[in-house]
Symmetry: C2
Subunit: 85 residues, 2 copies
């Protein structure tokens, strides 16, 4: 078993309303960042996990997203990186 | 002006308590993911912004983090990617 650090991104699914992102976009525009067109706010989750190899760490993180971390109705996830820790 | 999509990661600063991460780690262990050692929960923010070039988009996102997105006392941020949109 080796230790891996897996980074996961969980984002609002396309077409699902993201009120937090809209609020942040408006706040940025009010602060003078006039170039801001759109903001999406998701979660960046970093998991330290022991697994036999990189592929197993990736599969394990995917299963964690499906079972607990992401809401399958409103959110999409992607495994951003899997690195030896 | 071109359009850029900037992804920003905002994470609890090292040494700062991350109760949400601890709760997620325990929940994963309870679900049978016994290899999970530690979890950190941060934010993954994707900003669509108009800027003259990639460097300006990066600098603008950095300023947004300093002024609004990240809490300078408890959080660190990094500009993960800057891509033409």
């Amino acid at each position: 078993m080796s230790n891996f650090r897996v980074a996961v991104h969980i984002v609002p699914r396309r077409g699902i309303l993201d009120p937090q992102g809209t609020a942040v976009a408006h706040a940025l525009q009010t602060l003078g960042f006039s170039g801001v067109a759109d903001v999406k706010v998701g979660r960046h989750i970093v998991i330290d996990v022991a697994a036999p190899d990189r592929g197993a760490a990736d599969r394990s993180a995917r299963e964690m997203c499906e079972k607990l971390l992401a809401n399958p109705v409103t959110e999409d996830f992607e495994i951003a990186t899997v690195e030896p820790a």
